[in-house]
Each structure stands twice: as structure tokens, then as C-alpha cells.
Symmetry: C2
Subunit: 271 residues, 2 copies
């Protein structure tokens, strides 16, 4: 089954647009995990086990694993998700971007070594830098379009012939890059008007939306702006508010409650 098919099924089966972002920061782990050699795997596995029926996907952020010399734990974590929750896809958040021969190596890293179902990719180097990922027909390729960090506007907001660069990126990906239906876009939640603009350009393409705050208003505006037909089309990422909801040995219970609240808040505005 392709990433897109698995995602579509997970949206429906778990009745959820929520993506739990796995950004494990050992300094924030509960005391009983501190200093254990496989603490990162154990922390993430507990979060996964506590939330797998509440999410449409998981999104490990590779930088947190790489900074901690924990590639093997990332590999074990993704293998655990696949073995235990086969209907829940894994997006590896790595924002890779390089020329074709190097992109082939990054594709091997993401799709063969880690067995991720989808990968985030940076579009700055153009279509041929993305083709090596698209060469894996079952995999998803989620391209940066509009990011909600303060500096996101430095380039993405430039005017290119009457539209903004991020609109142009959405347009060429929808028209020229996504011939096989494998693509999605990253669009930050800060400005709902921009999500609406991207949705208008790309039709039903999946949008990965980071930056949702704790406020219901943001969620409502994001849903109104970005949902596709059938109240799907969005992968709404929440990391820290779920990962670090609890501090004790029962931290995963607190994470489950936070994930449930997040999913339910999103669902309030889906239909």
C-alpha cells in the first residue's frame, strides 16, 4: 500500500488528522528514563504505544536522533511502529535536499535503512533533486512550501511575477512535480489565509501543518482554511504539548490525554 493510501485509511480508521511529532529531547525525559542507554527509543515507544489509535501518522524528527548518536534507536522505533501498528504511516522529518546522485543516497537512508513511508524534502534545488525520492512509487514526498517560523518570509514571501514564492512553489509542485500523486506540502499554521491559498492551488494534496498552538481559534481557522473534501487532507502536527504533557513514570498516560484532547479539538471543526 502506498503512503497516500495508508494515510487516507488512517484518517478514516482513527478518525484523526493528528500527527504526533517525535522530537525526543533527553533533557526533558522523566527521571526514570534519564541516563538509560536506550532512553530515546523507550521514551518514543511509550508515546507511540499510548497514542497509535489517536493519530493519522507519526513524524520522527531525525535531527533529535542524530544529535544524540541514536540512529539505531530511530531505526528500531520505526520498525516498532510498522510491526505493531501497520496502518499508521511514518513520516521521517529530515528536510533533505541535494543533487540527484546525493539525493539517491538520502532516499536509501530514509526509505531503505529507516523504512520511512514518507520524507520531508526542501525544494530549493528544483525538481531533479526530488526525482530520486519519487522513484520509490510507494513513498510520500512532502515538500517545504510555507514555513511559519519568523524568517520563513525572508524568501518564501518574495514576489515572483505577481504571486509569492511559496504560492509559486505550491503551483509548480501541483502542476509539474506531482505527476504520480506522491507529493504533499508543509504549510505552517500561523496564517490561515496562506493555508487557504495553498489549498486553492493544490486541490486535495495532503498538507502537513506544524505550528498549531494550544488555542482553539487557531485550530478552527486552520481547519476552515485547509481541510479538503470529506474533512481530510490535513496532517496536523503536534509535538511538545503531547510528548512532554507528563513528567512522571506515567508520562505516556498524560501524553494520551493530550493527544486525545488535540484530536477531539481538531475533529470539532472538521465537518
Amino acid at each position: 500500500m502506498t503512503f497516500i493510501d495508508t494515510l487516507n485509511a488512517a484518517w478514516r480508521k482513527n478518525n484523526s488528522l493528528l500527527c504526533v511529532g517525535l522530537d525526543p529531547d533527553p533533557a526533558k525525559f522523566p527521571a526514570h528514563l534519564q541516563g538509560k542507554p536506550d532512553a530515546i527509543f523507550e521514551f518514543c515507544r511509550n508515546i507511540v504505544d499510548a497514542t497509535s489509535d489517536l493519530v493519522c501518522c507519526f513524524k520522527p524528527q531525525i535531527a533529535y536522533f542524530a544529535a544524540n548518536h541514536a540512529e539505531d534507536q530511530l531505526q528500531a522505533l520505526i520498525a516498532h511502529v510498522h510491526a505493531t501498528y501497520p496502518g499508521v504511516p511514518v513520516i521521517l522529518d529530515a528536510k533533505r535536499g541535494d543533487i540527484g546522485s546525493t539525493a539517491e543516497q538520502y532516499a536509501i537512508e530514509a526509505f531503505e535503512r529507516y523504512q520511512a513511508d514518507a520524507l520531508t524534502v526542501n525544494p530549493y534545488m528544483g525538481k531533479d533533486s526530488v526525482d530520486p525520492y519519487l522513484a520509490y512509487p510507494d513513498k510520500g514526498v512532502i515538500l517545504l512550501c510555507r514555513t511559519s517560523n519568523p524568517g520563513g518570509s525572508d524568501l518564501q514571501f518574495l514576489d515572483v511575477g505577481g504571486k509569492k514564492l511559496y504560492e509559486h512553489v505550491a503551483d509548480i509542485i501541483a502542476r509539474d512535480w506531482n505527476t504520480t500523486g506522491q507529493c504533499g506540502l508543509v504549510v505552517g499554521a500561523t496564517f490561515p489565509g496562506e493555508i487557504a491559498r495553498v489549498r486553492e492551488i493544490v486541490g486535495d494534496m495532503p498538507l502537513l501543518v506544524p505550528g498549531i498552538g494550544a488555542q482553539g481559534g487557531d485550530v478552527e481557522a486552520t481547519l476552515n482554511a485547509g481541510k479538503a473534501a470529506g474533512g481530510t487532507g490535513l496532517i496536523i502536527n503536534n509535538s511538545r504539548a503531547i510528548l512532554y504533557a507528563g513528567k512522571g513514570e506515567d508520562f505516556a498516560d498524560a501524553s494520551r490525554l493530550a493527544a486525545q484532547a488535540s484530536r477531539d479539538l481538531i475533529n470539532r471543526y472538521r465537518n
Copy 2:
């Protein structure tokens, strides 16, 4: 000593603008290394030992290590360069790019775990996505500007208010991002006129130039277009033609000859 100071000293001491790119592809290794558990380290160490007096820096491409589960070999390789050839800086080619909190993790990966002296970074997410690397005052940050792959023009050639996007990127980095003098730019060698345009915009900022072919014309045009005062300012990368110059047990001797020829060809047009 900062990356820029070490690079300046290496340009002069080794009388070289040549960067040997370490893109280890095990399928291309000599027969006697095939199948060895530390083949990637051994291959690269031999290349480093054979060429260290001929280069201004080394540039390992992390994708080749990651695809082969060889992070520890990358770490050992960079440690070997630093211990044995302390005057030769190491640029980790990883083209990272993410929001601040994640960029902090990538900075830990590159500068603390791998002890790289400089890192390549993608500018698409804007200045605040680059600040965490610049927070390491001794390190270099080499930003993608104009890449020479066929799709490089998809975004980089867009007109933004009367200039091309890559010119705008060069301009904002030189004016606004490089306040501490730590930045360099990646500018591909395919079109010397574009190197000249970037040099005009950024003054003496170091330019990392991949894509030099075997033809003297390209090297001459690149040097004429891109050299800064004193015949320096360029980091001219050559990977495959040097790494895979020989096929036998004496492969590193062939690599040395190829590196020497490449350095000498570059030097013919420096002054």
C-alpha cells in the same frame, strides 16, 4: 582558530583552492576493501592521507555515510583529519535546513558530534533557521545560493523584483545574515557568468564551487569569474575524478596524482 582563518591559512600553506569531496560509494571501492566492515573509513582515510598537502579542505558528504549506516566511520574520519592534519578544515556537506529548535539539534550533530569546521545549509527557511549554526562563533556556514544541477533554475532563476532569486539570496546573506563573517555560499561551476555576478555581490566571501569538469576551459572561466583578491576566495570541489582515479591496491597514489593535476590546473589561472 575559526573556520575562515584556517581556510585562509590552508589556501596559502598548501597553495591550493582544491577541496576533495569525500562521497564514498562502496560499489566503486577497490576489490581489497570490498566487504570490510570499516571499508568507508579506510577508503576515505587513504584518500585524505594521500592528498592532505594538496587541498584547502575536505568535504565529506553525509548522505553517503548515512545510506551505509556509517556515522561512526564519518566521526572517526573527521577526527583523523583533525588529529593528523590540524591545518586542513573539514566542511560537512549536509545541506541542513529547519526551524530554530531543530536547527540547534543539527548544529549539535555537525559541530559537536562530528566536530566539523563548517556545514552546508539551505536558506529556504530564512535567517532564523540559520542563526543556531552561527551561534558557534568558530564555525563556518556555507549556504546554498546557485546550484548547477538542471533543476537548479526551477526556483533560483525566478525573477524577484528585477533580479534572480539566487542573486537576492547572495545579497541578503552578504548584507543581513553575515554580520559575523562566518558565511560562505555554494555556487555551481556550470555558468561562470553567475559566479562573477555572485562575486560582485558578496565581495571576498568564500564560494564553494562544485561541478568543475575535467576541461581546462571550465577551470579558467571559473577562476576568472570567481577568484577574490590574492587569488583565493574559492573552494573548488572535486570528488569522483579524484576518489575513483585508481582501482587497485594503490588507488590512493592515483588519487594523489589526480588531485595534484587538479590543483595545478587551478593554480595556472589563479594569478
